[in-house]
Symmetry: C2
Subunit: 129 residues, 2 copies
Amino acid sequence: MLLDIGEVAQRSGLAPSALRFYERKGLIMADGRNGLRRAYTPETLERLALIACARDAGFALAEIATFLGARPSDTELRERMAAKEREVSQRVDQLTRLRDSLRHAAVCTHDPIVDCPEFKQALGRVPSG
Amino acid sequence: MLLDIGEVAQRSGLAPSALRFYERKGLIMADGRNGLRRAYTPETLERLALIACARDAGFALAEIATFLGARPSDTELRERMAAKEREVSQRVDQLTRLRDSLRHAAVCTHDPIVDCPEFKQALGRVPSG
DNA sequence: CTGCGACTTGAAGCGCGGTTCAAGTCAAGG
DNA sequence: CCTTGACTTGAACCGCGCTTCAAGTCGCAG
């Protein structure tokens, strides 16, 4: 029923040390013990997948920890999530442009490649000037 | 003609210390000196914008350094850029899903919000299980 | 000549996200 | 019983991307 930490580590792709680290950070908690060994409910795997996704998206672990406890009444937290959504949207746009640039790089003949106007153009404007 | 490091720092949004750090990493180089002060051509601003973009996209500085020198004959490097393109594509997909989840969170009534099936669904599948 | 302020250097420090280490504990197997 | 092997703990360490610090150097204003 409960999964041993080794099991969870293997299935989630995280090291046991990482799971303990996440526990210290308040991201997960063991649902039981097998001797000294931590044991987790299978739902923890979903939670870890969620954490991995958010982390890959550039969220700090501390930030994820607060989001994980979010309840519908947390107006302030909701606003922060909305702000994050806008942030992620921008990131998607930026990454899309970067992807296009990389795609172009594959067929570009400029030397060096980064000097290609088309390559640079896709990266968006220089901050100011 | 050449821009003082302070000028470049201000326009790029990077600290002078960061510019020196980038120099040590081989990402940029000063085109002259004003006494001891580094001076840069305006093109450096473009280069810095490119670096910022790549860095925000999750590229390591060392990786960016190799890409910056990429020439059309670098077959291996080209392949790595192509690999990066696929990676970035995946990331775009993932972030798009995350954005949708966050968007939903703004109107979700689940308590806690992360337990919402719709929220979780958008995050993609659990690795295995 | 005397500040002043913004730079220079190398080296040390920081926050993040973990990993690694030393020493100890447990469950199962022979 | 004793070993084996995977875990436990707290603490130290690591790589990355910078920042900060101490001590020194420059250009310029007064």
